[in-house]
């Protein structure tokens, strides 16, 4: 067990002008499950591969525990990695696959068998130990890949989108299995995904990356309730947060003919006459008839049983703006109607229009 820290770790790909990972500073505590999340090309996989030793660190350093591993080859880092495509050894049986690292490390045959058996039991793979990977289903292969990592009893688990090749149902199941397994084993884990739902459900903490730059690190709750910039606000949460530009008016900002209250000192710190406002779909309500709010034309209502999502558009400062609001699944406006929407005043996110940085303090209810 060990902590992991990135200290200004930077990776340039040969021929590239921009670093794939730019001065990454990140601490992963002992036993913590940290999720690296970001869109494709954000450098999340590169950051993981740097930790694995599969990618050179051009600048800065990486520590596992107290040991500087920046220039240590992968085999001496005491880490185990689960690959997106599983990367099983096709000519070996499941048991041989799982025991390969131990064999290389010179562990005795008896102990190897015992440890493989133990991991197989944990992963429900006991009946498949003598099979070759090609005779396994996708989910089973994924578990073998997990097993290969567990058998090692490494300092750190690295997982590179291990669920992306599973079908939707299996992904949700495996997601919880991995998370609970990690908590049971207590091994420090760095997990890469592009799926923000996976990130929110699995991670103790989440690190959001974009263009090789770390945007924000925090608990799922932090990221959801207090995104530090426009990118994180739009990336975390599904459906995404409504983001639009609004005029600063007396007492707050304009939302149709309603005013969303924002403290004057927050508004004073903005660089322009407008700010970017973010409101999550569940923080928007349909106003009662005759009330104040923003006129929105309903384009579509997605019914999900208890809840529904209203997709509509409105004119804000002459710009067509798409909005999403959570509505009651049974009683909701229909497509084509025009309704007034109001935002709950205590969950408004204000961002600077030029820098995209957060302006107001977040209301985090614990």
């Amino acid at each position: 067990m060990a902590s992991v820290s990135y200290d200004n770790a930077t990776r340039f790909y040969p021929g590239g002008t921009k670093p794939a990972v730019d001065k990454l500073n990140l601490e992963v505590k002992d036993g913590e499950f940290l999720v690296l999340v970001g869109p494709s090309g954000s450098g999340k996989s590169t950051a993981l591969r740097m930790l694995a030793g599969l990618e050179e660190v051009n600048d800065g350093s990486i520590l596992i525990g107290d040991r500087d591993v920046t220039d240590v080859p992968p085999k001496d880092r005491d880490i185990a990695m689960v690959f997106q495509n599983y990367a099983l050894y096709p000519h070996m049986t499941v048991a041989e696959n799982m025991g390969f690292a131990l064999k290389i490390a010179g562990v005795s045959k008896e102990e190897r068998a015992a440890r493989v058996e133990e991991a197989a039991k944990l992963l429900d793979l006991e009946d498949y130990l003598s099979r070759k990977p090609k005779a396994l289903s996708g989910g089973q292969r994924q578990r073998v890949a997990m097993g290969r990592a567990i058998v090692r009893q490494p300092q750190v688990f690295l997982m590179d989108e291990p669920l992306s090749n599973l079908d939707a149902k299996l992904r949700v199941q495996t997601r919880t299995q991995i998370a609970s397994l990690q908590r049971r084993l207590g091994v420090t884990t760095v997990y890469v995904t592009h799926d923000q739902t996976e990130a929110l459900t699995m991670g103790d903490r989440i690190a959001v990356l974009k263009d090789g730059i770390l945007q924000q690190v925090g608990t799922p709750r932090d990221l959801y309730e207090a995104p530090q910039n426009v990118f994180v606000a739009g990336f975390i949460g599904s459906p995404a947060m409504n983001l639009f530009q609004a005029d600063i008016v007396e007492g707050g900002i304009a939302f149709g003919n309603a005013v969303l209250p924002i403290p004057a000192d927050v508004l004073a710190s903005a660089t322009g006459p407008q700010i970017t406002v973010g409101v999550r779909p569940e923080d928007i309500d349909v106003a009662p008839a005759g009330g104040e709010g923003l006129d929105v034309v309903v384009d579509l209502v997605e019914e999900l049983g208890a809840d529904g999502y209203l997709y509509g558009h409105a004119e804000i400062n002459g710009l067509r703006t798409d909005l999403v609001a959570r509505v009651d699944g049974r009683r909701h406006p229909n497509a084509g109607e025009t309704v007034k929407l109001v935002a709950k005043t205590d969950h408004i996110h204000a961002f600077d229009i030029a820098t995209g940085e957060r302006l107001n303090a977040a209301v985090v209810v614990d």
Partner: protein
């Protein structure tokens, strides 16, 4: 177009826009193509069949009647085989030359395969300075005609040493073997490295990386992961190299003198010195076909596709 789609559907191919590859595949698997291939195969095999039949006929009948008269002219004998094994020149018999052929061919197949597999792994999965230039250089060596290398090689072998190491001299009386092995290995390496490199570099990078993370060194990755996965390529190249060396006359004419001469050389001598005894050649030819056939059938099970199946998602 509708018939094309039907054929494709019948063949289990997902119907869709016809790509050039698909068109070629469809044409090559059509009935006409199959019949044409069968005809060519029969046409090709008939002379060999004639040779086989002739080798079992008494010499006087071989000389006087055609092999296709075997049914009206029944006569079966193994004389040709016993005679040819005893035939030869002043230094060795055909039976000894047969052993020589094996002694030349097996090392001359194994040596280049081992070196080429190691080199191909290095070219595919190791980073070192000048890798690309070196690879192009090795590839370009295929252009050098074998004939051009013969005289320099003879000069090198005449010295009895390579880079100061008395490699050739160390073999003493068997120096001829070492010469042929080295010559064949040198000629085989460029193509072997190129082909094996193409195969080895197709192994998913994930698998190699997984092995590195699992703690394997380059040597362990090579022997435990790459080599087993490369068996189909090694087997097919092994077969080609084996056939090439087994059937080779040029290299053995020049480097394999006297008692190390292989069958091909002796067979050629029999034709030259005893043109009248050509029925012996039929048996000799069959003896020399025997080993390549055994090798082919023994190794053909390695010609299996999809050895990588199950490794990654695909």
């Amino acid at each position: 177009m509708s018939t094309a789609t039907e054929t494709a559907a019948a063949a289990g191919v997902i119907p869709g826009p016809e790509t050039p590859t698909r068109r070629v595949k469809r044409r090559l698997t059509s009935r006409t193509a199959t019949i044409a291939a069968l005809l060519i195969a029969i046409l090709w095999t008939v002379p060999t069949l004639g040779l086989l039949v002739s080798s079992f006929r008494p010499p006087q009948e071989v000389v006087s009647t055609g092999w296709w008269t075997i049914f009206s002219n029944v006569g079966f004998t193994l004389d040709n085989y016993t005679n040819v094994l005893a035939a030869g020149n002043s230094q060795l018999t055909m039976a000894q030359a047969f052993i020589n052929s094996i002694a030349i061919t097996i090392p001359a197949t194994v040596i280049p395969l081992v070196i080429a597999a190691l080199a191909a792994y290095a070219f595919a999965w190791m980073d070192f300075k000048g890798k690309d230039a070196l690879f192009i250089g090795v590839f370009a060596l295929q252009i050098v005609p074998i004939q051009m290398a013969l005289v320099p090689l003879l000069q090198l072998f005449a010295r009895g040493e390579i880079f100061g190491v008395p490699v050739i001299a160390a073999f003493g009386d068997g120096a001829g073997y070492a010469q042929v092995w080295i010559a064949h290995s040198i000629f085989a390496l460029p193509l072997a490295i190129f082909l094996l490199h193409n195969f080895i570099s197709e192994i998913p990078a994930d698998v190699i990386e997984a092995a590195r993370v699992d703690g394997a060194s380059h040597g362990q990755i090579f022997f435990r992961i790459v080599l087993p996965l490369t068996m189909p390529a090694l087997a097919s190249f092994g077969i080609f190299q084996f056939l090439w060396v087994w059937n080779d006359l040029l290299v053995s004419l020049i480097f394999a003198d006297g008692t190390v001469a292989p069958m091909t050389k002796l067979l050629a001598e029999i034709t030259g010195s005893r043109g009248q005894d050509w029925p012996l050649l039929t048996a000799g030819a069959f003896l020399s076909i025997l080993v390549p056939l055994i090798v082919f059938f023994a190794l053909q099970r390695y010609f299996v596709r999809g050895l990588l199946a199950g490794s990654t998602k695909g």
